[in-house]
């Protein structure tokens, strides 16, 4: 079972990402959960959202404390929260133009040292260019897919089209770009 | 004649009363001690007594004047209180003259 924790700010679409991923995984015949950190949220407040994906039935319903992957939608969130409980064998995926080494140093400076894999992609840049807005949720899905191969790229097509309608194609393009451009170290 | 369900098995499902308007069989006339008497020479046929009667027992006659159905009239006196030309008097039973 793969456990993924997303970090964003209210309004950046983290919850939408986990829903789309869960739907895509279920369409592929897998078992999946997608849920937000429950509660009232407002624009700008840090939010967490969660995914579990497995090939057999997922019975666990508690929150995710030791994710395999942590996805950070907003660079300003780099700090202890995004690596809390993250498995040493796990991966941190960050939306940033910085290099992985810089992210690692930044974390160390904030007393949040992480020795596992770090993947980076300038999702904000991609989003501005493909979507015209700095909303990176679908873009980061592309990065997540490349790093984890949790679902096939094609599986996201229908959920994204259903959710985004007219702007679905732009989102899929941003997704594919992040898929291609993410760097893992 | 038994009017009400007695045992729990006879109690209608949900307490539904299937006989519409069966309040009619419960005659409240004997409750009163005063009864309304209309002086038709004063009555202006406005119908206010009919409207205000809480029992709905003041009825309009074929001549357009009003009277209470004494099977149900409880003698509350609201009709007399509301009557504009004071055409209604509340009189003790048996003292009508």
């Amino acid at each position: 079972m793969l456990e993924i924790r997303w970090h964003g700010r209210g309004g950046q679409g983290a919850v939408t990402s986990v829903e789309l991923l869960a739907m895509a995984a279920i369409d592929e015949g897998k078992f999946a959960q997608g849920f937000p950190s429950f509660g009232p949220e407002r624009r700008g407040a840090p939010v967490e959202a969660f995914n579990r994906v497995d090939t057999k039935q997922i019975k666990i319903r508690s929150r995710i404390y030791n994710p395999d992957v942590s996805v950070v939608l907003d660079e300003s969130q780099i700090g202890p929260a995004v690596v809390a409980g993250l498995k040493p064998s796990g991966t941190l995926i960050v939306n940033t133009a910085k290099k992985a080494g810089e992210v690692r140093d930044l974390l160390k400076k904030k007393n949040a040292g992480f020795d596992g894999k770090i993947a980076t992609v300038d999702a904000t840049g991609i989003a501005w260019s493909e979507l015209g807005v700095p909303i990176t949720n679908t873009t980061m899905l592309g990065a997540l897919l490349k790093v984890t191969n949790v679902v096939k790229l094609a599986a996201l097509k229908e959920p994204v089209e259903h959710r985004f309608g007219r702007i679905a194609q732009k989102n899929l393009k941003a997704l594919k770009r992040a898929y291609d451009e993410v760097k893992l170290s | 004649m038994k009017k009400w369900p007695e045992t729990w098995k006879e109690y209608n499902t949900g307490g539904i009363v299937f006989e519409p308007g069966n309040a009619r069989s419960f005659k409240t006339g004997p409750w009163r001690s005063l009864k309304p008497v209309w002086d038709n020479s004063k009555c202006i046929k406005c119908g206010v007594c009919y409207i205000f009667c809480p029992e709905g027992c003041v009825q309009e006659g074929p001549d357009g004047f009003f009277a209470a159905d004494l099977d149900y009239c409880k003698g509350c006196g609201i009709c007399a209180h509301e009557c504009w030309p004071s055409a209604i008097s509340m009189i003790e039973e048996g003292h009508e003259s």
């Binding site: 986990v18 829903e19 869960a22 739907m23 895509a24 995984a25 279920i26 369409d27 015949g29 078992f31 999946a32 959960q33 997608g34 849920f35 937000p36 429950f38 509660g39 009232p40 997922i58 019975k59 666990i60 319903r61 508690s62 929150r63 404390y65 959920p159 | 009400w4 369900p5 007695e6 045992t7 729990w8 098995k9 006879e10 109690y11 499902t13 949900g14 307490g15 539904i16 009363v17 299937f18 006989e19 519409p20 308007g21």
Partner: protein, 389 residues
């Protein structure tokens, strides 16, 4: 059978209700139930079902409205949580008294004081004696199945009682998970149109909801009590029918790895799935533990509980609500009642868990089982698990 789709459970619940072709719905949204109210409103507005959606100004009005509609023979639905359910409370016992088969969806949420929008069972527990039938879903699939079953149970001529389907707020309502929907044809076959016992209509006038003098009230209570107790047989039969049609099994008390169990854990609601994993882990360590999952809350399955605990030395009951100054966990107190007269009965330990949305993990269930002997020795009727001392 249709393919599983990923859908948020609350949204799936609204879709299940739509499959049942309701006539009237009146919902006032409250977190975490909002998505049912909103999605059902969308379905009606889009014309996907031919129904009336009354946008009432409060939960009190919501229940009043669906009761009135139900009295005319309409198939009705409402949904709420916590404070909304409390706001309905004045009307709540009248629905079963009038034998109106309203179906209610509950996204279980803690009752205020302090204000808390997260999941526990205090809202439905507070309505325990209202006379509504109550069933609990363990996951999204069960929630969808139970809504469809609920209409059939409530409308059964031997039942004619309102029923609520309980889904843990957020823990279930806000999770996207795989759901297999029955087809419309299958639902139509399973659930025939509602044939009311009596209905309000000018052509055949009658009175519903009348006064009951001291002379008749006791008989009214007895009639209703008998109907509520007899509903269990109908529920079990309908669950068997569902299993035949769809292959998914439902029982008042479901068991997991209870064969040879010396210690039994009992849950009600979605935490049961996490508890299953704890049982798996404990069994690996050689602990002879099993799990009971209570799916039918009202009418309480006394016989099934007695049967299920036979042979066990210890029963660890988890509750998600507390009766202040009372016997502690409501589920546990009812189980104690069920077992009081039994010649052989297990020792009972009661943990109150997951209050106000407090997360309960696999390790917690394991600790509860392993800590049961100590808890028993303490002599306390119940323990609030995990409270910071």
């Amino acid at each position: 059978m249709t393919k599983p789709v990923g859908m948020e459970v609350a949204v799936a619940a609204a879709e299940a209700v739509a499959l049942c072709n309701i006539d009237v719905a009146a919902c006032y949204p409250i977190t975490p139930n909002t998505h049912i109210a909103e999605h059902l409103a969308d379905i009606v507005a889009d014309g996907r079902i031919d129904a009336e959606y009354i946008t009432v100004e409060s939960e009190h009005s919501a229940l009043s409205a669906v009761m009135g509609a139900s009295g005319t023979g309409a198939r009705t639905f409402t949904a709420t949580s916590s404070q909304g359910l409390m706001y309905m409370h004045e009307i709540l016992p009248i629905t079963p008294a009038m034998r109106l088969p309203v179906v209610m969806g509950l996204g279980n949420r803690a009752v205020s004081g302090p204000i808390n929008i997260w999941n526990d069972h205090s809202d439905i527990i507070m309505q325990r004696d209202s006379g509504w039938l109550s069933i609990f879903a363990d996951n999204g699939q069960e929630a969808v199945d139970m809504f469809i079953q609920a209409f059939k149970i409530a409308e059964h001529p031997d039942v004619l009682l309102p029923i609520n389907v309980n889904m843990d707020g957020f823990q279930l309502t806000h999770v996207v998970e795989p759901i297999v929907f029955p087809t419309q044809a299958q639902v139509n076959k399973f659930l025939p149109p509602y044939k009311p016992f009596a209905s309000l209509h000018p052509d055949h006038p009658l009175s519903m909801g009348t006064l009951g003098l001291p002379d008749i009230y006791t008989e009214a209570v007895k009639a209703r009590d008998v109907a509520t107790v007899n509903a269990k047989k109908v529920i079990v039969d309908i669950w068997k029918e569902w299993e035949k049609m769809f292959g998914r099994k439902y029982e008042p008390v479901a068991s997991y790895k209870t064969s040879g169990a010396e210690i039994l854990l009992l849950t009600m609601g979605s935490m049961g799935e996490t508890a299953e994993m704890a049982v798996d882990e404990l069994r690996k360590k050689g602990v002879k533990v099993g799990l009971l999952k209570l799916k039918l809350w009202r009418p309480f399955p006394f016989d099934e509980i007695r049967k299920a605990v036979r042979g066990a030395k210890t029963l660890v009951v988890t509750d998600r609500a507390v009766s202040y100054g009372g016997p502690g966990g409501p589920v546990c107190s009812e189980i104690r009642g069920a077992l009081y007269d039994q010649p052989n009965r297990p020792e009972i330990v009661n943990y109150i868990i997951g209050l106000g949305g407090r997360d309960v993990r696999v390790e917690d269930f394991m600790k509860m089982v392993e800590g049961a002997p100590k808890a028993r020795k303490s002599g306390d009727a119940y323990q609030i698990y995990g409270v910071r001392e």
